[in-house]
Amino acid sequence: MGTVFSVAAPDEVGSEVFARAWDEACALLRRIEEIYSPFIADSPVSRMRDGRFGPADLSEQPDLTEAEVADFREVLGLCAQLNRESGGAFDAWAVGDPPAFDPSGAVKGWAGERASVYLAEHGVPAHLLNAGGDVRLRTDGRASWTVGVEDPHRPQQILAALTMPEGAVATSGTRQRGSHVWDPLRRRPADGLTQVTIVGPDLALADGYATAALALGARARNFLVELGARGPYQGFTVDDEQGVWWSEGFEDHAPQLRGLLSRGN
């Protein structure tokens, strides 16, 4: 999966509390990798991918505790929700050719969200967690973090700056993990979009929506318009030809963008 996690927190947290909470969060993340990595030959995800067991047999797996089984079901539920809401553009059961089970498009964000929750509950309520370019932010409400949206074509440059006290910013790009994002609807690598950024309350959903939008490619805008109209998840896209676009609600987090896009309605 190739993800490195890093964290920053305000100084008033205290060194020992911070170090301990982060060490424990890292242990959580390592355990998540052991369970969900498709690169580990006998991980539960790899076994499920090979067909060695199915979702109904989760509780019988010797290497999963009861709590881990419950978490796995939560991940499967998340994949189902994303599949439903994206009209099939996100499909953890149809990744690659031939189609196989790989929940990685949701697990990275889910893992980051879990780590952030852990930190918040163990003495680090305000922090900035970076999960390989997906970001989860928390403050006490008094201040905001500022997050840049990377320009995929120019190193060290950003396309927009988001100011927010709390929430998640997830970015998916066609160059992640050294391979294409898979479009399960057309059974081929996704094209049309170079990068999608989703901002919203939860990193697991933001990551999943970003993956879905990237898979939709040139058809992503309708999806993102509807997503942004019915809830708090807003999108920003970079496409192969026309440049950038963003949903109206995205401007609430990046006011410098207001009025720059002409919209049909």
Binding site: M1, V4, A161
Partner: protein, 179 residues
């Protein structure tokens, strides 16, 4: 390759400071790519805190701050080691890695044996595409506001960190630094 990279990156980060939280210009974007999904652990260093102000500080630009609360200047902690064993310092340029899209190249900045920054030198580009973005979509943003090294940006969300070639280039830079 991945497992080896994992071990080396963990060692490097255990000694180093993963950052994008510096307020002064010149700070790069954070995060390393390429290791298997893993946490980064390290104890907190002393004296390495940097001043980063979540927006709302008096020095912020006119960009809006949602909350009207009092601004607080905070120093941020990041994971860093207490001791630095080696005296290696400098910028080590990784190999330029060819990917199907073009070349990816990074440089690792080492200070006192610790990795303190990763700078992306090359990513595959798309010719005149960047002019198109700026002229069509965001004409009013000044060029300095577009810099990820702006004092007001604490972190950059992007896909570069997990891109193909990034890890290989970074690994070669760390190899040169002896980390």
């Amino acid at each position: 390759m991945r497992k080896v990279l994992l071990a080396l990156l963990l060692t490097a980060v255990g000694l180093g400071l993963l950052l994008s939280f510096k307020s002064r210009p010149g700070a790069g974007t954070s995060a390393l790519g390429g290791s298997a999904l893993s946490g980064v652990s390290g104890s907190n260093g002393s004296g390495n805190s940097t001043s980063t102000t979540p927006s709302g500080s008096p020095s912020a630009s006119a960009s809006s701050t949602p909350s009207a609360g009092t601004s607080t200047t905070t120093t941020t902690k990041t994971t860093t080691a207490k001791t630095s064993s080696g005296a290696k310092s400098g910028t080590f340029t990784g190999t330029s890695e060819e990917t199907r899209y073009g070349a990816v190249q990074v440089a690792a900045v080492i200070s006192g044996g610790k990795l303190t920054n990763v700078t992306v030198l090359q990513v595959p580009d798309n010719g005149g595409y960047e002019d198109q973005i700026v002229s069509i979509a965001v004409p009013e943003l000044k060029s300095e506001a577009l810099s990820a090294q702006s004092a007001n940006i604490q972190v950059v969300s992007g896909a570069t960190y997990t891109s193909q070639g990034y890890a290989e280039s970074l690994q070669s830079a760390l190899d040169q630094a002896g980390l």
